[in-house]
């Protein structure tokens, strides 16, 4: 029985990050500051729902990033795409008067287009993903600055401004902010896709052995392009949420979001070499980073120290996942 549990532990890809999340949750509870009334501040409903709200943007981006990384790719453009989408959202709803639906469609399409260009250049242009998405990261940011004339655009409500329905992004249901529901919905849709659908299986296959996938009759280029399109789409979705929450579209936002999101994916046990990884793990990774920032914030730990600790956590998480400190020179 003990062996079976151990076996399961070593074989399932998502269990380790999820256990890491549970462990950190318990630690955070123990070390949480206590209010004068004796309640544990970390466990307060408001605090927990606040954590979820804070991680939902990075979380949504990380879902797309996971798909890309499983194919052994990388998408550095997500932060810029978020900024572009946020900027388009603000201008669409304020200056161009596109209305709610059309604004959102335009913003999402910008992400789809960016992802499609990434995918086409990587697949058919045979340029490395790192380089293509680095170029997109620069280019999309530039385009966002061009649209906004380098200023941020505030979103106001009323006649000749944003419609009331746009406030949906800042509402809560049962005390849980709306963006959290979007994050949960996106997570469920894509984890079902990865686990149950053909396209999910193909994504793993491409990451595991691209040439074998091609010879097995998979349309590798299209499948890979699809993952970049999803990544762009989800970054754009996060951009809309970003704009709605801050009541502004700022072309300078979202800087280094790609790195936070890669960190979450890696902490979640997805291998940068491709072929391996789960969305469950990524979600655990996102929550681990969120809880860590939260508990450190509650204790008044400054940003500088938080960043150093985050760096250490990334390395520690991967070391734990690999299960050893040995470097396999010829390991086969």
């Amino acid at each position: 029985m003990k062996n079976k549990i151990l076996d399961y532990y070593t074989k399932s890809d998502w269990l380790k990050p999820v256990l890491g999340f549970v462990g950190l949750f318990i630690l955070a509870t123990i070390f949480s500051p206590v209010s004068s009334k004796g309640t544990i501040i970390f466990l307060k409903f408001d605090n927990l729902s606040n954590i979820l709200r804070q991680v939902s943007e990075i979380g949504i981006i990380s879902v797309g990033m996971t798909l890309v990384i499983i194919t052994a790719g990388i998408d550095l453009s997500v932060g810029s795409v978020l900024a572009l989408s946020a900027t388009l959202t603000a201008f669409g709803i304020m200056d161009w008067q596109l209305g709610f639906s059309l604004t959102i469609i335009v913003a999402l399409l910008s992400g789809v287009l960016a992802g499609f260009i990434n995918g086409v250049l990587i697949s058919w242009g045979k340029i490395q993903a790192f380089i293509v998405t680095l170029a997109m990261m620069t280019g999309a940011r530039g385009f966002a600055l061009f649209i906004a004339d380098s200023n941020s655009r505030n979103i106001g409500f009323g006649e000749g401004a944003a419609p009331e329905v746009f406030k949906i992004f800042t509402t809560s249901f049962l005390g849980i902010p709306f963006p959290v529901f979007i994050f949960i919905g996106v997570s469920i849709i894509f984890s079902v896709m990865l686990r149950k659908m053909r396209i999910g299986r193909y994504i793993y296959a491409i990451g595991s052995n691209e040439e074998a996938a091609r010879l097995a009759g998979l349309r590798v280029n299209w499948i890979r392009t699809t993952t970049y399109v999803f990544s762009g789409l989800l970054a754009a979705l996060a951009g809309i949420i970003h704009a709605a929450q801050l009541y502004q579209g700022n072309p300078n936002d979202g800087i280094a979001f790609e790195l936070d999101s890669i960190a979450a994916v890696v902490i979640g046990g997805t291998s940068l070499m491709g072929g391996k990884g789960t969305l469950e793990g990524t979600i655990a990774g996102v929550l681990i980073i969120g809880i860590l920032s939260n508990i450190l914030g509650l204790h008044g730990v400054q940003k500088d120290f938080q960043l150093m600790l985050k760096g250490a956590i990334i390395v520690a998480a991967v070391l734990l996942q690999e299960g050893n400190l040995r470097f396999g020179f010829l390991g086969k």
Binding site: K196, R198, S208, N209, K276, F329, L330, G331
Partner: protein, 500 residues
Amino acid sequence: MSLLEFQKISKSFSGVEVLHNISFQLEKGNVIALIGENGAGKSTLMKILCGILDDYQGKVLINGNEVRFNNPREAEKAGIAIIHQELNLVNDLNVAENIYLGHEPVSRFGFVNFDKIYSETKKLLTEFDFPFSVKTKVRDLPIGWQQMVEIAKALGIKAEIIVMDEPTSALSESEIQFLFKQIKLLKESGKTIIYISHRMKEIFEIADEVVVLRDGKYIGKYNIHEVDQNFLVQKMVGKEIKTSPNKSKLIQKEQLLSLKSVIVNDNKKRFLTDISFELKRGEVIGIAGLLGAGRTELLKFLYGSYQQNYAGEIEFQNKRFIPSSPSRSIQNRIVYLSEDRKNEGIFPELSNLKNSSISVLPSLSSFGFIKSELELDTVTTMTDELNVRMESIHQHISHLSGGNQQKVLLSRVLLIKPDLLLLDEPTRGIDVGAKQEIYDLIEKLKAEGMGILFTSSEIPELLLVSDRILVLSEGKHTALLDTNQTDSREILQYACGGAA
């Protein structure tokens, strides 16, 4: 005192014992063949000897002293080198850099002493009559010479014991003879060679002694002059294998594939010339040729794996056929099994189930969702039929032995229900028992009316399996022979480009 001794070696992987109490001794200056079916434990035992695996029970003794290597470098220092089946060379470094990789002589300021590397390498390679510059990139060498570089590398670290894991699997006949000459030289200079191979003929040609393993157990060590092939095969499999073919007659006459004067050009060079043949349903055409003759290229071209220009006529099922892409070929029920399992076959991170079903998922799903029960049923029916030995269908394919991985890959292509089967070296690097199973399978598929193109670098195997044999030499079609009216000598002559 013996040079090398194994004492009660046992080793388990996640609870499964793969080596069980193995004990034997080897003397200096011999060539010892190590044989056994796939999964018998040969590779695992050698990995222990070479420091790749360091957690095992039992002892390894060299000259009577116990050693326990924590990594390959320690084993190298003790004079043990391994030449893997898949060569371990860095393609973009040159010959000399590869030979000294990891132990480059350095000058006082920490710079690599390239003069010394080049002169030492030249000295090492004179014995081999190496026809290239030591500054040639390994990528540009023929595979046979790459192997020589590996051997030179072993000599460069002054190895006393050299382990060769299936060294001939990628070599042509002439290259094999060349390798054997080198092995004899090594033996004369007092080196001990542990030679892992599935090819009986080679073992009788080169070995002094033979050690047999079966299911992780030591079966025995025999003087090669006191045993014969049947005896060894029986020791390996523990049961009799039938060696005589029982070829079924052609039942159907319907034409499946025809090529007329097909010429295929790469951008610059022409790599297939004047290929013409007709393949009927229920027929096996074997493709013979030396290394680089274009056997793999012909199969991959027909599969649509290259998008090259070609001239000539191709008909498949009496319709004009243009090879365009693997996915299109699969729709036409043309399938290809690669010779290179590791790089072009398996998905190492995925389970046996997922490896098997990948090409037929559209028929196993609705609205993009995979019907998991249907998938499991379909795949297990096929893997049972092919007699794949595995712990579980959900186990990663990388845990299987070569022969069983090959069977899973066969199940992948057979699930497509092909009409035309392109098999590229299907028996490469797999054991006698699994080979026989593949021959039997080919017989069965033939009877079901498939047309099969089949390559092999072993001519006896081609004679055993094929109805006719197409011989290629440097991409050129040199002969199309009836198996019943030809022999190895004639095939080899055509393969070398000459007429019989």
